[in-house]
């Protein structure tokens, strides 16, 4: 029943046998053991499952694993080297951009792609970049602040945002 899937996840080449119906998010969570990518809605509204595919944000609950054949994926676990933090992770921490933390990986991944394109986004641009992510805890106030702070850090040369 399984089909062969070859791809790169967080810089590591993988070959796995997967069921054709396996969603990318469950491939990441259950086959790769990367549980930082979450499922919140099943219908692509909440964005908790956002990962980067070739640097672009995708909702991994609305993609089959096999559709990622040959791709290079980045998940929240791969955003920074072990023990280090990406500027967005630092900014979410410093700006209190999370409460329960369930939506946070998706926000950070979507914002990573946003800042890679535009490290100095306006309020409107942040709103457009993160319109596919829902948070129920923060009212988004500090998420917005965190994205701005991370943009400043990136512009100051803290580290280049990863793009896949």
């Amino acid at each position: 029943m399984g089909q062969t899937l070859r791809l790169k996840v967080n810089g590591v080449e993988r070959i796995d046998e997967v069921e054709p119906r396996l969603l990318l998010v469950y491939y990441l969570r259950e086959v790769c053991g990367l549980t930082g990518t979450h499922v919140g809605c099943d219908t692509s509204q909440c964005g908790a499952c956002t990962v980067l595919l070739a640097g672009a944000p995708v909702k991994s609950c609305n993609m089959l694993a096999l559709q990622a054949e040959g791709a290079s994926l980045t998940t929240i676990e791969g955003l920074a080297a072990p023990g280090e933090l990406h500027p967005l992770q630092t900014a979410f921490w410093e700006q209190h951009g999370l409460q329960c933390g369930f939506c946070t990986p998706g926000f950070i991944m979507a914002a990573t792609a946003l800042l890679a394109d535009n490290p100095d986004p306006s309020d409107e641009e942040i709103g457009r970049g993160l319109e596919g992510n829902l948070c129920r805890c923060t009212g988004y106030v500090n998420i917005r602040k965190a994205v701005k702070a991370a943009g400043e850090a990136v512009r100051a040369g803290a580290a280049a945002p990863m793009g896949g």
Partner: protein, 781 residues
């Protein structure tokens, strides 16, 4: 003394590093060897008789381990799901609720069978193959229609649909109304809401058949109560059940009460002798996780022409859903809080709980207090409008001023300064400026409105005596334990549960200041019934700091005072002659003679203890608060309504709140941001919709149920005043629900103010463009 080094500081959250790196441990991240997966077969009908269930096709699918129905579970689970007295102790009809339906389904989504299989996808496939034959029955959808004698019944064997019908009498209402110079009345809707934590629910159970132990992992705000309920139903000693509630992705009240799956998953594990897990889908969540609100109020207020409030008479019709929620009657506290921050001669509040064929309602963030506040603040504005009085002036004229203040129902507000928060909010928003801009806009035909909401909240549950009556036995106190380990680090155990509130940080700040140890040496534990004190009371009702934080403070104080005794022995001084500062005991007048608290901790495990002193340095403490706590504040919203489309644009939102002393201002502000967002979202966007004819859920996904993105919400301006609570040593109140309690009224009052030139007095929630556009069209006729 090392007090207030960390208390009051913006300490960055200790829980964040794992969460921002994808290393959190949410329920779906837990797996066990041999884990089987459960899917639930749910009724597609809101009301039907079950004629038969054919399991054969599902059972024959390879990989299916079991197809189980009520028949199977009756041997595993005894009794019905619990219903507490809460604020409506005199119930008329409480339909029995077994976790899975046997002969009649009473809401869409009610479980009728479960499938357990070797994979989640297989379980879902097999669930579709279970053939259930139903005989549909008429669905009861509208609670007001369901109150009428002779209406269809939500349960075919019930006497009627009335769950409770009681009146709270606070003063001589007829005398108050007899003096009235003006009266206003209104009908105010509180739509059903889906709490919508971004993490759905989930349960994993591992029953160990030979030693009869059950471990239950679930996404819960309330693990000890779940252990109490599930152990009882499964016939297990409470001590044989361990409940672990790990990182929880939001609760908002929806993860307090026990759910059918909390019983069905462990029972399935016991039947199969292997671990079983069920993870809720979003559609299951909207369909079967509790809803909040779902109430209709009719109210009449009486006042004098000078603006003096006299009386308030109201009826709350509460849509219970198909069964009483475990804490569903808590929502009747809207009646007790309907007088808000004002002095009334009398209030008479009738509450009627009505059964319908929908998912049960239960506490959702604020639970009764947003409804009470919304009602009160709307009625006060209606009085002001009727009198042509400025709503700020009318409020000031009627504020409770002397504290403690006893309200019409005998509840004692601990402390307050309602003028203080209102004055600051008016200043911050530039109230006179907006009134001028409003007048100018009106000349141009534009619709600008300013809405006030001056609120007070009852929270911090305990005390034990009234809450034991409300839960049916367990008094809501809180327990905490401090263990000073020999090498000087501290383990703190609390019975509350954090799911976004940042307790690891706030509680560490309290312990650090009380014991004089660095933050890094403190580890806060919660969410595992195998650890810490015998019972924990969970997190809801903005109670964690005022009750749990106090329990922790007390336990740490007991430990510190034992350390003082031991330090005195080691220093050959009297305990009374010791100073304690920066974690060091020193002899007054001779600071060279000192012992650090860490040195004392090691000595507590050594061989030189004074006679009569037991070894160790640890303490369990229970805190039973002498009263509730009563945070308060003033919110002001400015809106512009588009006359052509009915769309509402929030121009400014100011919130000045007072939750007593603040441990971590960053976390307090975060709680307000989120709370305000949820209240605004109720005011403008959210509504669970059932088809009025068929009883089918229309808003079953996030496509249909509108959770706002960052583009729909304003950035509020926050400030605070500090009026400590006199009822606890920390002087703290609660802030988790405050924003939600205050904000819907501020938004709707602003919209009504904007629309008042058109003769529109009231707008219901959600104030969607369509609703407002229709009202504008109607008013123009």
């Amino acid at each position: 003394m090392a007090v207030s080094q960390l208390i009051g500081a913006r300490v960055q959250r200790r829980e964040d590093p794992r969460l921002i790196t994808g290393r959190g441990h949410f329920i779906e991240d837990h797996v066990l060897p041999g884990l089987a997966h459960m899917a639930v077969v749910r009724s597609p009908h809101p009301h039907a008789r079950i004629v038969g269930i054919d399991k054969a096709a599902a059972q024959s699918l390879p990989g299916v381990l079991a197809v189980l129905t009520a028949q199977d579970f009756k041997a595993q689970i005894s009794g019905g799901m619990p219903v507490t007295p809460a604020f409506a102790p005199e119930k008329k009809y409480v339909p029995e609720r077994f976790p899975i339906a046997e002969s009649e389904v009473c809401f869409q989504g009610e479980p009728v069978a479960v499938v357990v299989a070797t994979s989640r996808a297989l379980a879902a496939d097999a669930a579709d193959l279970v053939q259930v034959e139903y005989e549909p029955l008429p669905a009861v959808v509208d609670p007001e229609a369901a109150m009428v004698a002779g209406s269809f019944k939500a349960h075919s064997d019930g006497p009627d649909n009335i769950g409770w019908d009681m009146t709270f009498a606070g003063g001589d209402i007829d005398a108050a109304f007899a003096k009235a110079e003006i009266r206003v009345s209104e009908r105010i809707l509180q739509q059903r809401l889906a709490p919508t934590a971004i993490e759905p629910r989930g349960v994993m159970a591992d029953y160990s058949p030979y030693d009869e132990r059950l471990t239950l992992w679930l996404s819960s705000q309330n693990p000890h109560f779940i252990r109490l309920f599930v152990s009882g139903a499964m016939g297990l000693p409470e001590s044989h059940v361990r409940v672990v509630s790990p990182d929880v992705g939001g609760g908002f009240g929806s993860k307090i009460s026990p759910y059918p799956e909390d019983y069905l998953v462990p029972a399935a594990s016991r039947i199969l002798s292997r671990p079983v897990r069920w993870i809720e889908t979003r559609t299951e969540s909207v369909m079967t996780t509790i809803h909040g609100r779902g109430q209709v109020f009719t109210a009449e207020a009486a006042a004098l022409r000078d603006g003096t409030l006299l009386g308030l008479r109201l009826t709350q019709v509460l849509d219970l859903g198909a069964y009483h929620g475990t804490f569903g009657a808590f929502q009747a506290c809207a009646c007790l809080m309907s007088g808000g921050v004002y002095r009334w001669e009398a209030i008479s509040a009738r509450t009627v709980g009505v059964l319908t064929n929908k998912v049960p309602t239960d506490p959702y963030r604020g639970a009764g207090r947003p409804e009470g506040t919304h009602l009160c603040e709307r009625m006060v504005d209606r009085v002001a409008q009727e009198l042509g009085m400025d709503p700020a002036d009318l409020r000031r004229k009627n504020f409770a001023q002397e504290f403690p203040y006893v309200n019409n129902f005998g509840l004692t507000y601990d402390s307050g300064n309602y003028d203080g928060t209102l004055d600051r909010a008016l200043e911050l928003v530039d109230y006179p400026g907006w009134r001028q801009r409003q007048a100018k806009a009106r000349e141009e035909g534009r619709l600008i409105g300013v809405g006030l909401s001056t609120w007070v909240e009852i929270c911090g549950f305990g005390p034990s005596q009234p809450t034991a009556a409300a839960t049916g036995g367990i008094g809501l106190v809180e327990a905490a334990e401090i263990r000073f380990l020999p090498s000087g680090s501290v383990a703190a155990y609390v019975g509350t549960h954090a799911h976004g509130q940042g307790h690891d940080t706030t509680f560490s700040q309290i312990v650090a200041d009380t014991l004089g140890v660095p933050l890094a040496a403190i580890e806060v534990h919660h969410g595992d019934t195998a650890e810490g004190p015998a019972f924990g009371y969970g997190t809801y009702g903005s109670r964690s700091l005022a009750v749990g934080g106090m329990a922790l403070h007390q336990a740490a104080t007991v430990v510190r005072e034992k350390a003082r005794q031991l330090a005195a022995h080691l220093l050959e001084a009297s305990p009374d002659d010791l100073d304690f500062a920066q974690g060091t005991f020193s002899v007054r007048g001779n600071p060279a003679a000192h012992k650090t608290v860490q040195e004392v901790a090691l000595a507590a495990y050594g061989g030189s203890l004074p006679e009569g002193m037991e070894h160790g340095l640890e303490a369990v403490s229970y805190f039973d608060p002498p009263n509730f706590v009563w945070p308060f504040g003033a919110h002001i919203c400015v809106v512009e309504v588009d006359r052509d489309t009915g769309a509402v644009a929030i121009q400014k939102y100011v919130a000045v709140d007072d939750c007593g002393n603040v441990i971590n201002p960053m976390i307090v502000e975060g709680q307000l941001h989120g709370g305000i967002a949820q209240g605004i979202s109720q005011a403008l966007y959210e509504e669970v919709v059932y088809d009025q004819e068929s009883g089918q859920l229309v808003t079953g996904t996030m496509v249909d149920y509108l959770i706002p993105t960052m583009n729909e919400l304003p950035v509020p301006t926050l400030d605070r005043t500090v009026t400590p609570s006199p009822t606890n040593a920390l002087g703290v109140k609660g802030i988790g629900e405050a924003g939600t309690i205050a904000s819907s009224a501020a938004v709707i009052n602003a919209i009504c103010d904007a629309l008042s030139p058109l003769g529109i007095h009231h707008v219901d929630m959600p104030a969607t463009p369509e609703r407002i556009w229709r009202m504008i069209q109607e008013a123009a006729r």
